[in-house]
């Protein structure tokens, strides 16, 4: 039974024709057209499809699209600021070479963003634990952990300057 779903993604309203069985990951990718979010295991075990819903990281492959209509969704495409400046996490991933094939990267970034928003000064152990549900087959995680730690430091430094 088709219906019009209304979503709020990266601060914008988007309508999409959906059916009750449709997964959020497929609606975001195929109907809203934001293909940065990836579908890799479709069972909630790899984290590649992670998006934020009301600031919480969720697996969009385990979420029915209809249930996400009243939540503020954020995908990797929403990380950059309006003027195109990269989020400190994105810049740190570039600086540390923390993405190889890149298929896990969007999910990694979104999980890391949720962590830093909730815990601005994480220990390396905190970061390890937060990202333990995001599988990366290429990097060996070292550079990803380095990048998140670096981004945290830069966000905090910028905040202190602003204050």
């Amino acid at each position: 039974m088709k219906q019009i779903g209304t979503f709020r993604v990266n601060g914008k309203h988007c309508d999409a024709i959906i059916e009750p069985h449709m997964l959020l990951v497929d609606v975001i990718r195929d109907h809203i057209g934001l293909t940065g979010t990836k579908r890799a295991c479709a069972s909630g075990n790899c984290g590649a499809c992670t998006v934020l819903a009301d600031d919480q990281p969720i697996c969009s492959c385990l979420t029915l699209a209809v249930t996400a209509q009243d939540r503020a969704l954020e995908t990797v495409e929403g990380l950059r600021s309006a003027d195109g400046t990269l989020h400190p996490l994105q810049q740190a991933f570039i600086d540390h070479c923390a993405a190889q094939c890149g298929y896990c990267t969007a999910g990694m970034l979104m999980t890391a963003k949720a962590l830093l928003d909730a815990n601005p000064r994480p220990s390396r152990e905190d970061v390890k634990r937060a990202l333990s549900g995001n599988i990366c087959r290429c990097t060996g995680y070292v550079k990803i952990l380095d990048a998140v730690m670096d981004a945290a430091q830069k966000i905090n430094a910028a905040r202190e300057v602003a204050a």
Binding site: S43, A99, G102, G133
Partner: protein, 787 residues
């Protein structure tokens, strides 16, 4: 010493921006107007003949465009491995062409029976359920040893005794029997690796469609689209010619060797040709597990002999490899295992024999290291056992038997040109503190948590010159702003080759790195190349790029003479320097130009001499230029649970020269963690009663996570290789070879028990601790058997 502008610098790779913004486009992110969705029906039986197949209900479902079976496939057989096209005709018989796209006889659970194209994915999946198949169940064979026994069920009717491939080591040498008879110490070690899955996060996928001129376009994450195109037209669809296909390989979501074999591309083409619509064929993660492509499990017995001074006198290696239902890369990986395993140390008496058996299990394939990690796991433990028998430090034992330039290399009979393995061993040993940590053989460790240290050494090729069609070419053109368009065909699966080649291009041409624009992944645009594998891209393609860059620089110098003349400076081309986009001359201090001036003038020349700066470069490799590595692992074993934790890992790599140390380090870190998974957790489990893959999700097949990353250091030993571009050797695969054997040797040092099969999971280690290693020789198929 030459000071480079870009080579050796830790530069950002150009493709990473799109990966952190979500803009990079992978195959699944692409759509073609009027595209429909394709899905494949897989066999639920390990061995069954199709008696009747009725597709009428599926075909009648609204939205279904076509339903195809074996009756609709070309009558020519092919292999998933495309390597036959890179080998000289008849040079190597291990490339059996043994399968059809859709089969009339299922040879494993997951074998392809039928394919559907429909307007949307839900309809395609509904159609699969409406296909009626009546099977005649056949006796199945799941174990390679049993498959080789007389009277075993035949996997292929035209193959006697299930022997898919068999050969002696091509470089058998010396008098092995005599050496064993006269040696003072002889030991044997038997072991088997597991079928590690590539687990590229992007599952198998392909899009196929016809362009307006009738040509066929394929979009898929292939590691070698040129070779795949040749194979597809020569073997799979012989009615097509090489020029009928344009193959696009976009951003690839991980490869590790899996994309070296054909995936769902033949099905996509079959469907697109049948329904005359663009078709995208997708697979699920479960299908990726049960379908095909994993490391080949190679059951090995290795016998080694030495005299009491520690000279390695003889090696004998017997391999029984399990190809699964179709041959694919299993024969070639077993051959590479022999070459690398028997070729890493100096030994005059060598004998090897391999047999590849067909079984009713998913097809195995090539995986990073391509046989080398499989061999190293057994051989490096055999070496330790031999060192123990003669009472020698395992590091000293290896140092005593190192090859020097001039010895036969791992690719005998080509002589070894260059090795820095000795330096690697010393450097890594120093870094991890080996002298203090290794306490001698048989020293019992106190307490529940026991620590141990172990080592392993390797040699791996940079390309397979002399064996494969090992050449590559590139084209360069300089744009009007001084940017350089490098048209070249490595496949970027994340390894960073695009960035490294851009560094080589910038260095050799004298242009700016930030202005190198790489075009790749389109067989209509790039020159022929056999793909990204065998750690070949840096050396082979890099040399082609370096050669073209030199020509561009010459053209810039020639044209810059006139620029200097405009400033009343008379210089000859050889007095002109081009570096990082600037043109200067010692003969005219203070006068400098931007390359953009020359490039612009070349294009927008309304006189008679106008032509864009452009060049091509080619390189043919006739040798394999081995890289080397030594690695040490420190582990802790919980003797109450059997859990092994890697605490620290240090490798030192003989890399020739690192074009970009950041990227090399990234490769080593990634391959180490992949190697820790291979060593400790990644278990491909097949149900012995049904042949079904039980570890078919990321929940049941356990990959390392952030919590499994040990302290690590990857040291580079740089000594430029004469044949390498700016001295570089390949490195992509090497990091995955040493982890399993180094960890295995460290486990033995900790608890005095050797583990004979991978993964060395907690249950297996605990069983070996309680019952002795002889009680748990292990198989690669059944997990939990030790509980």
């Amino acid at each position: 010493m030459t000071e480079f502008a870009y080579v050796g610098k830790r530069l950002t790779k150009p493709d990473i921006y799109g990966k952190v913004t979500g803009e990079a486009k992978y195959t699944d992110d692409m759509t073609v107007p009027s595209m429909v969705e394709g899905r494949i029906l897989a066999s639920p039986h390990a061995h069954a003949r199709i008696l009747r197949i009725d597709t009428s209900k599926a075909a009648a479902l609204p939205g279904v465009l076509c339903v195809l079976t074996h009756k609709d496939c070309p009558d020519s057989r092919f292999s998933r491995s495309t390597m036959a096209e890179a080998l000289p005709e008849f040079a190597f018989t291990g490339e059996r062409q043994d399968q059809y796209i859709l089969t009339d006889k299922a040879r494993y659970v997951g074998d392809w029976i039928a394919a559907v194209a429909a307007e949307d994915i839900y309809t395609a999946e509904a159609a699969l359920e409406l296909i009626e198949v009546e099977y005649e169940l056949l006796p199945m064979i799941l174990d390679p040893h049993k498959a080789l026994e007389p009277g075993a069920p035949s996997v292929h009717d035209d193959v006697a005794g299930n022997i898919a491939f068999e050969m002696d080591h091509p470089f058998n040498s010396g008098d092995v029997d005599r050496a064993f008879a006269e040696a003072e110490a002889v030991v044997e070690f038997t072991g088997v690796n597991s079928r590690q899955k590539h687990l590229h996060l992007e599952t198998d996928i392909a899009i196929a469609y016809h362009e307006s001129d009738g040509r066929l376009v394929i979009i898929s994450p292939s590691q070698g689209p040129h070779l795949a195109k040749k194979h597809l037209t020569k073997r799979v669809f012989p009615d097509l010619s090489d020029g009928d296909i344009r193959w696009l390989s976009p951003t690839i979501g991980g490869g590790f060797g899996a994309r070296l074999a054909l995936g769902v591309e033949p099905v996509a083409v079959l469907l697109a040709r049948a329904c005359k619509r663009p078709v995208r064929v997708t697979t699920t993660r479960e299908e990726d597990f049960s379908g095909y492509s994993s490391r080949t499990d190679q059951h090995q017995t290795i016998r080694v002999a030495a005299n009491k001074d520690g000279k390695l006198l003889a090696i004998e290696q017997i391999i029984v490899a399990d190809s699964g239902a179709y041959l694919s890369h299993s024969a070639t990986t077993a051959t590479v295992n022999m070459q690398k395993t028997l070729g890493v140390l100096k030994c005059d008496n060598i004998r090897g024999h391999l047999t590849v058996a067909y079984t009713n299990t998913p097809t195995t394939s090539g995986f990073r290291g391509y046989g080398n990690p499989e061999g190293a796991f057994v051989f490096q433990q055999a070496l330790d056992r031999l060192a123990e028998k003669i009472g020698m430090d395992p590091m000293e034992f290896r140092l005593k038997n190192l090859k020097v330039p001039g010895d036969p290399s791992c690719f005998v009979p080509v002589p070894l040109e260059h090795t820095k393995l000795e330096e690697c061993i010393h450097l890594a040993a120093e870094k991890i503190g080996y002298k203090d940590k290794w306490q001698g053989w048989g020293v019992a460790k106190p307490g529940r948590y026991k620590r141990g240290i172990g080592m392993s050494v390797l040699t791996h090729a940079s390309g397979a010159g002399g064996f494969l069609l090992e050449h590559s070419s590139c084209v360069m053109k300089v744009l009007s702003d001084g940017a350089l368009n490098l048209i070249v065909s490595p496949c970027e699966m994340g390894q960073g080759i695009i960035g490294a080649l851009a560094q080589v291009a910038a260095e050799s041409s004298g242009l700016r790195y930030e202005q190198i624009r790489v075009s790749t992944g389109d067989t209509d645009v790039t020159m022929f190349d056999i793909g990204s594998h065998a750690s070949r891209s840096m050396l082979v393609i890099g040399n082609a790029v370096a050669a073209a860059g030199v020509k561009i620089k010459e053209q810039i110098r020639d044209r810059a003479v006139a620029l200097f003349a405009e400033h009343q400076v008379r210089v000859t081309p050889d007095q002109i320097e081009v570096r990082a986009g600037r043109i200067t001359s010692d003969a005219a201090p203070g006068v400098a130009f931007d390359v953009a001036q020359v490039a612009y003038a070349a294009i927008y020349d309304f006189g008679s001499g106008g032509s864009q700066l452009n060049a091509s470069g080619s390189y043919l490799s006739t040798s394999h230029h081995p890289n080397h590595q030594a690695a040490f692992a420190e582990v802790e074993v919980d003797t109450e649970t059997g859990l092994v934790t890697v605490l620290n890992y240090v490798s030192a790599h003989d890399i020739g020269r690192a074009i970009n140390p950041l990227l090399v380090e990234a490769q080593m870190e990634g391959s180490l963690v992949q190697g820790i998974g291979f060593a400790l957790t990644e278990d491909f489990v097949i149900d012995p009663d049904t042949g079904r893959v039980l570890s078919d999700s990321l929940l049941t097949y356990r990959l390392p996570t952030t919590m499994d990353v040990p302290d690590m250091a990857h040291l580079l030993v740089e000594d430029p290789l004469e044949a390498g571009p700016f001295g570089a050797k390949g490195c992509g695969e090497a990091g995955l070879v040493n982890p399993a054997p180094a960890i295995a040797n460290a486990i033995y040092d900790a608890i005095g028990v050797r583990i004979h099969s991978l993964p060395m999971a907690a249950d297996k280690v605990l069983w070996a601790l309680r019952h002795g290693e002889g009680a748990a020789p292990g198989g690669s198929r059944v997990s939990g058997q030790y509980l």
